[in-house]
């Protein structure tokens, strides 16, 4: 093994180096200058994001346990951008609440370790690497959810997340062991050649799918979502709903489309039913939420249901639409969570009623929120419309017209509750509206990037063709 092959793991090695560097910096930075660790971490991660854009060869390492190609590389860059925006948005919260208790470095180390786990998970070439990546990406997030140790709801959300995640990974592991029993290998490339549709392998598929469905919060497995989002710090809720969900969707899609392709006639039906249930339950429960974090949690459950419409296609078109949708979803959801975080940081208010009259006092923030919600709902000029439109095309190309019809019904329902927030901000007047406040530089930068992403992705179509080209090996 030489240096060239190690450079294939450039993302992972750089991120690991950043984690180690932050540990060293924690020791050497002066006690009364601890705030500078936030700047240092964001600066290092910014460099990491830029370096990540350089092209990478298609190859595999460690006897096929680790593999990388254009699509995986592209998706890692999406995750990088998402985490960078997230760090920019949570920098002020870190400075005010966390750094003074001397815990800033822990936050970054845990978050970067979790991201490292996601890298390994999405470029895994066998089930062992996949499992280790899954665990490495979940455990630090549970610690982060319980990060505000003095708050009761933060600890509650942490314990709910860790227990659900442990159950999910246990169920998933049992499924993997059954798949191993039928095929005699844990390497994806070996499994593809021998897997057939027997009762045992179908049971393995179902259990394995259930484990990942927990991570994506599809419907029978979604109960932890709203509670964890409400209790955890907002940046962690945002991380869970954007980055963690995106990575899990990606690897689930890759595995279903390659390794478990011979069982497609089974998982098609599963995905069909779960998609309908997820969309309806996510949307109907979102209708009655008052807390913005719970509201966004149920909205993100419903979005996961829409993503399944792309997965059910099972070919190149499905991969393209799902990756494109996740890219748009990252920006829209980060914008929505960013605004919630800005308001919560300044005033401590998180309820929908508190947003009444926001347009009169904080017009820019409410415009950002409006764009984000329009994009999540799928209203034409912004990017979200195209994401949803392509997903529906993917499902329709396979002849699932009823599913597409139900999805359109759900888009209408979701439009209603997204407009509730917009009505509160723009039409309602309130005597105790949130007073005007000015965001700090990092938060403004984070919001501007998301707005640019929402607007540009909707108008710049070559990106879709680029993803389509990258996913050409799924046929």
């Amino acid at each position: 093994m030489n240096i060239d092959s190690f450079l294939l793991m450039r993302h992972e090695i750089l991120l690991l180096a950043i984690v180690l560097l932050l540990i060293v910096a924690e020791i050497f930075i002066n006690q009364n200058k601890k705030g500078s660790i936030v700047h240092l971490a964001i600066f290092l991660f910014g460099i990491h994001t830029i370096v990540g854009f350089f092209a990478i060869d298609e190859s595999s390492l460690f006897g096929g346990m680790f593999r990388t190609n254009g699509l995986i590389h592209f998706f890692k860059n999406i995750l990088n951008i998402g985490v960078l925006v997230l760090l920019l948005q949570s920098a002020d919260w870190l400075q005010e609440k966390i750094v003074q208790h001397n815990r800033g470095t822990e936050f970054f180390i845990l978050m970067f370790s979790s991201l490292l786990g996601m890298y390994f998970m999405i470029s895994s070439g066998d089930f062992l690497m996949f499992y280790l990546g899954l665990e490495l990406s979940t455990l630090p997030v549970a610690a982060l959810a319980a990060f505000e140790t003095t708050k009761r709801i933060s600890s509650e959300s942490g314990i709910k997340l860790i227990l659900s995640a442990a159950l999910a990974s246990g169920v998933s592991l049992f499924g993997i062991s059954l798949l191993y029993a039928t095929t005699g290998s844990i390497y994806f490339n070996d499994i593809i050649e021998v897997i057939t549709s027997t009762n045992l392998s179908i049971l393995g598929l179902v259990l394995f799918f259930a484990g990942l469905a927990f991570k994506i919060s599809l419907v029978p497995f979604h109960f932890w979502t709203a509670d964890v989002y409400e209790g955890a710090p907002i940046s962690i809720a945002s991380y869970l709903s954007v980055i963690s969900k995106g990575a899990a969707v990606f690897i689930l899609m890759i595995l279903l489309f390659t390794v478990l392709k011979p069982l497609m006639h089974i998982w098609e039906n599963m995905v069909y039913i779960i998609a309908i249930a997820t969309m309806f339950i996510g949307n109907l429960f979102a209708l009655r939420q008052q807390n913005m974090k719970r509201f966004l949690a149920f909205s993100s459950i419903a979005q996961a249901g829409f993503i399944l419409l792309g997965i059910i296609e099972g070919n190149q078109l499905g991969v393209t639409t799902v990756v494109y949708f996740v890219l748009i979803y990252v920006f829209s959801n980060l914008a929505a969570f960013g605004v919630v975080q800005a308001i919560s940081l300044q005033t401590g208010k998180e309820n929908m009623n508190d947003y009444e009259g926001l347009y009169r006092t904080n017009p820019k923030l409410s415009l950002v929120m409006m764009l984000a919600l329009f994009s999540l709902a799928g209203i034409p000029p912004v990017a979200g419309f195209f994401g949803k439109f392509f997903l529906f095309t993917a499902a329709a190309s396979k002849g699932y017209y009823l599913l597409v019809f139900l999805a359109v019904v759900n888009v209408t329902i979701s439009l209603y509750y997204y407009l509730l927030v917009i009505r509160a901000m723009f039409l309602r007047q309130s005597d105790h509206a949130i007073p005007f406040f000015k965001n700090k530089l990092y938060m403004r930068l984070g919001l501007i990037i998301t707005v640019l992403g929402i607007l540009i992705l909707g108008l710049y179509s070559p990106l879709y063709d680029y993803i389509f080209e990258l996913s050409s090996n799924f046929n």
């Binding site: 600890s155 509650e156 246990g170």
Partner: protein
């Protein structure tokens, strides 16, 4: 390989173990017991891997080393869960499920 015991008996045992774990996870009212139930599920899959490797595919040791990794990761998971439970206990002096439902629906 154990004399006189076929793979069916052992796989039945692990399946029963798995479902006891799932049942316990759903019905138990104490956080520590829930954690123990999760451990049962994980151990069921550990035994599964070892047995399948030994009985069906004895020439390559993939299942055995997979089980080693599961044991290590399960330990990390338990440590983290216990630490969160301890932190919760400091605040509410209880590890019962009924006391951690301030957030609902």
């Amino acid at each position: 390989m154990i004399e006189g015991i076929s793979i069916y008996e052992i796989l039945t045992l692990t399946s029963i173990l798995f479902f006891i774990g799932v049942y316990g996870f759903i019905t138990r009212k104490n956080l520590i017991s829930i954690l123990i139930s999760v451990e049962l599920i994980l151990n069921a899959s550990v035994v599964n891997f070892v047995v399948i490797n030994k009985y069906l595919y004895p020439d390559v040791l993939q299942g055995v080393y997979f089980s080693l990794f599961i044991i290590a990761v399960a330990a990390a998971e338990t440590a983290l869960a216990i630490s969160i439970i301890i932190n919760l206990y400091r605040q509410i002096s209880s590890v019962e499920v009924k006391d951690i439902e301030t957030m609902k629906y």
